[in-house]
Amino acid sequence: MTTIPLFHVLILASLLFLIGFIGVVARKNTLFILMSLEVMLNAVGVAFIGAGSVWQQADGQVMFILILTLAAAEAAVGLALLIRMRKKYRSLDIDLLNKMQG
């Protein structure tokens, strides 16, 4: 049991998550969206680690490691898509990719 109360950890995690989410929604540049996604993933990691340390369980860290792999894969695929998009549209504006309606 650490001295940091779980409530405060969760406040930090939700703050970070909210910042990331606003970034994802508000930014038009796809690269910034990707970075905001990383921030969001981190926020989730904070929540897991905090919970794990409060209950003194290793599961929280295991979850964080899984999130880490997810972030790695996501970054790889996302960046590859960005490169593709750059070649095709000469821009990273996500609103150009609205051809798939409905």
Partner: protein, 176 residues
């Protein structure tokens, strides 16, 4: 003043503040490379938080894998494929170090914090009592979570293949 600062909670709040500020700068940034720099700072701050929460292994991974590998991948992609071009118009035209001052200041604050933590034996003691070591995590990973690990490996493989497929140049010139 220093004694006041030197409690685990206050250090945690400080690191959290750094993380929040850095994240805000990431989200609101104009220059891609600067934003990435702030993202690195944000990740480092989160790593400090992890450390303070008694998860040094996670903190290490955060620094090595997240900041060290994933973010470097971002930087590579941005610099090599010109992904930052859209933003260069908005970027400040002077190339002085002042552009990076904010990020450096935040990183410096984190450094001070780390030094404080490592130097303060009281904090070290209380942290030791609550730490969940890499051994426990390893046992969990290769015990009950073995299947998850396998799936994660598949995910990585899939990410690798997808990344390769999408990023390779169009030799045939056809569509996707």
């Amino acid at each position: 003043m220093l004694a006041n600062l030197a409690s685990i909670e206050s250090l945690f709040y400080l690191a959290g503040l750094v993380a929040v500020i850095a994240s805000l700068k990431v989200v609101t940034g104009h220059n891609t490379v600067h934003a990435l720099l702030y993202l690195v700072v944000s990740l480092l701050a989160v790593a400090v938080c992890f450390y303070l929460m008694g998860a040094p292994f996670a903190a290490g991974l955060e620094v090595i894998v997240y900041a060290g590998a994933i973010l470097v991948l971002f930087v590579f992609a941005v610099l090599m494929f010109g992904l930052g071009k859209d933003e260069t118009r908005n970027a400040p035209q002077n190339k002085s170090l002042a552009n990076m001052l904010g990020a450096m200041l935040l990183a410096f604050a984190l450094l001070v914090e780390m030094v404080l933590i490592i130097n303060n034996s009281e904090i070290q003691q209380s942290l030791h009592a609550t730490v969940i070591g890499s051994k426990a995590v390893g046992i969990m990973l290769y015990g009950p979570y073995l299947l998850a690990v396998e799936i994660a490996s598949f995910l990585l493989l899939a990410g690798l293949l997808t990344g390769y497929h999408y990023a390779k140049p169009d030799v045939t010139g056809g569509s996707l």
